[in-house]
């Protein structure tokens, strides 16, 4: 696992332990990452969030 994470009420911070990069992710991205039910969002927002996670190399688990 290359990622460390810290959760706040308005989103999460992901830290890549290999590159040292730090990213702020909104609750939608975090939900997709966790495979949790995403907050109310449009298809376009979900698509954009999945692309963002993919670019960062973070998993986008299927919703539980």
């Amino acid at each position: 696992m290359n990622w460390r994470r810290c959760d706040f009420e308005d989103g999460s911070i992901f830290f890549n332990t290999r590159s040292g990069d730090t990213h702020a992710l909104d609750p939608l991205c975090v939900a997709l990452c966790d495979g949790a039910a995403p907050p109310a969002s449009t298809d376009a927002q979900i698509r954009a969030a999945r692309e963002q996670l993919q670019q960062l190399g973070l998993p986008t688990a299927q919703p539980r």
Binding site: C6, F8, D10, G20, A24
Partner: protein, 300 residues
């Protein structure tokens, strides 16, 4: 205490064995043959203790006249660190500014036992307030006004956070004020004690404000971050203190940290803990007394 040396005694020590200046957990060994430095240091560091005379210091620095033919036309000064000259020389009248900037560099470039954030920090009891800020945001002006209103100054430029405990270490060094801020603070409090003014520096007209005796005497008192305030001075703006999102605050603080990347996971953990245990705010202000009142209410 530096004040007990007197100007003549301080000048003699600077020219000879050096002065061990204790700033919180750090000791600076200062040397200089420039006669103008002693009165300025006697004013600005009056309350600071002298470090032990056992030869140990974290940093050995000197401010000396630069050599070379240029010195006959426009005298310059060098900042020396362990015998090296890491910076280009500056005009002689800016010797004090060069020393202060040089001391900042010593800490920011070497003290990686701390997470170092470009921010002012002050404390009420054991609860600290951190004021990060881009240049022009009003960070130092606000820090000066808070200190003169009874808050304990921890640092003006460099907030030092122990990654293991989250405690902030106080340096309580003089506050650097620029341009119109000098008059703002002069008008704000008659208790303000300034060093000499230096016009035409890289940052404009600057001076330094002496830290209060309490700030220096209580530098060893433990303080943990309770409030992180992102100030923004806007001419004519009403005072507004509003919650700031924590994720964005994390990113903003990481960008203001000198060694977040250097520290790797240790830096991430330290910053995460800092944000978790603090409330985060944006402060928009134009009138200092109102801004101070808003922060005082927050601390009650």
């Amino acid at each position: 205490m530096i004040a007990k040396l007197g100007i003549a005694g301080l000048r003699e020590r600077l020219r000879g064995p050096g002065v061990n200046l204790q700033c919180g957990p750090l000791t600076f060994s200062l040397r200089s043959t420039l006669p103008s430095l002693a009165p300025a240091l006697a004013t600005l560091y009056a309350h600071h203790p002298l470090g032990c005379d056992n030869g140990f210091a974290d940093f050995h620095v000197a401010i000396e006249r630069a050599r070379g033919p240029r010195g006959w036309v426009a005298p310059q000064v060098d900042f020396r660190f362990d015998g090296e000259r890491p910076f280009k020389p500056l005009p002689l009248p800016q010797a004090l500014a060069m020393l202060e900037w040089g001391l900042n560099w010593c800490v920011a470039a070497h003290c990686h036992q701390y997470l170092i954030i470009h921010a002012a920090s002050l404390a009420r009891g054991e609860h600290a307030l951190i004021l990060p800020g881009a240049p022009g945001a009003g960070k130092s002006t606000l820090a000066a006004a808070l200190m003169l209103s009874g808050w304990r100054l921890l640092s003006d430029e460099l907030t030092l956070i122990d990654p293991a405990t989250g405690n902030l270490s106080a340096l309580a060094r003089p506050i650097n004020l620029k341009n119109a801020s000098i008059e703002v603070i002069r008008d704000f409090s008659r208790a303000a004690i300034f060093g000499p003014q230096m016009p035409d520096t890289l940052k404009g007209r600057i001076t330094h404000l002496q830290p209060t005796a309490t700030s220096v005497e209580r530098a060893a008192t433990r303080a943990k971050s309770a409030w992180i305030i992102f100030p923004r001075y806007l001419k004519g703006a009403a005072t507004e203190l509003t919650p700031a999102p924590k994720t964005q605050s994390f990113i903003d603080l990481a960008e203001q940290a000198f060694n977040y990347t250097t520290l790797g996971e240790t830096g991430f953990d330290a910053l995460a803990a800092l944000i978790k245990h603090s409330t985060t705010w944006q402060l928009r202000y134009s009138r200092l007394p109102e801004a101070i009142a808003a922060l005082d209410r927050l601390a009650c």
